[in-house]
């Protein structure tokens, strides 16, 4: 297998991320998403948020590497991605994030064997409350 299954269950060290207004606005603009919640702070506050809100796929910017996970990036396809929220992420949030290897499995594809790597990043606030989970499946050929 292209990835050693013994890394299943291994977790990275945690990393602190500050969610910034500018990063949210730049991200929403790159998608072409003109939702006011993502750029107009006064509007977001009127809607009950502390500051501007992050779009649902914004946690893709939160990259937490697990040193035990090694592969050649040019051989990787993104198979599946999922975000699960307890609440919206807003600018000003400080999140402690860590990444866990959930599964490593091998499947027979059209072009030979493929390795599936399933990882989950969990983001918590500094009080330890879960805010979001990001689950990704990478296909390594």
């Amino acid at each position: 297998m292209l990835i050693d299954p013994s890394i299943i269950g291994s977790t990275s060290e945690s990393k602190i991320f500050e969610i910034e207004k500018g990063a949210i606005r730049t991200f929403a603009e790159a998608i072409g998403d003109d939702n006011l919640l993502y750029k107009d702070e006064a509007f977001a506050k009127e809607c009950g948020h502390r500051s501007i809100v992050a779009p649902p796929t914004f946690p893709t910017t939160i990259r937490v590497a697990n040193p035990k996970v090694k592969f050649d990036p040019s051989r990787v396809l993104h198979g599946q991605q999922e975000y699960i929220y307890e609440r919206s992420i807003v600018a000003g949030d400080v999140l402690r994030c860590f990444s866990t290897v959930v599964d490593v499995l091998e499947k027979e594809g059209n072009t030979g064997k493929m390795t599936f790597l399933v990882q989950e990043i969990r983001g918590e606030d500094l009080a330890g409350n879960l805010v979001y989970r990001a689950k990704s499946t990478l296909i390594i050929r």
Partner: protein, 138 residues
């Protein structure tokens, strides 16, 4: 910004689709910078050709971002997207005009949620990215 009317949403309902402007190479450069995904197959034709692609391909996460945009518009300010899942199957290229679709799969009265079935297509009926979402209403 008003989103869909929760009380009127029904299981099986097709919601208003989102048609995105044609993807431009500069958008892929912007998305690379904003997301931190600097894989050159999305921004450099030479690199893309070297790995057997006809040229640069869009980030799969950009298509997921479009579905996030649609879900965000649908829930409006009356709730949030509590779950978003996609499966990437087809490649997206510069010049492609993508249509994002959503259909109500289930309405949960107690939880005040709508389960949606999502798809992204270039030609009608040919899904490039499929997925699902849960909209949670306050």
């Amino acid at each position: 910004m008003n989103g869909i009317d929760w009380t009127r949403a029904e299981t099986g309902q097709e919601l208003e689709a989102l048609v995105k402007p044609a993807i431009e190479k500069v958008q892929l450069v912007k998305y690379a910078g904003a997301s931190g995904d600097f894989n050159l197959i999305h921004t450099d034709d030479e690199t893309a050709r070297r790995v057997g692609l006809p040229g640069v391909i869009a980030h799969g996460m950009l298509s997921m971002g479009f579905l996030g945009q649609l879900c965000g518009q649908l829930v409006g300010k009356n709730g949030f997207v509590s779950q978003l899942m996609v499966r990437f199957s087809g490649m997206v290229f510069p010049g492609d005009v993508l249509t994002c679709r959503a259909k109500v799969k289930k309405k949960n009265e107690n939880e005040r949620t709508l389960d949606l079935e999502l798809s992204v297509e270039r030609e009608p009926g040919k899904t490039l990215t499929s997925g699902k979402a849960i909209l949670k209403f306050y």
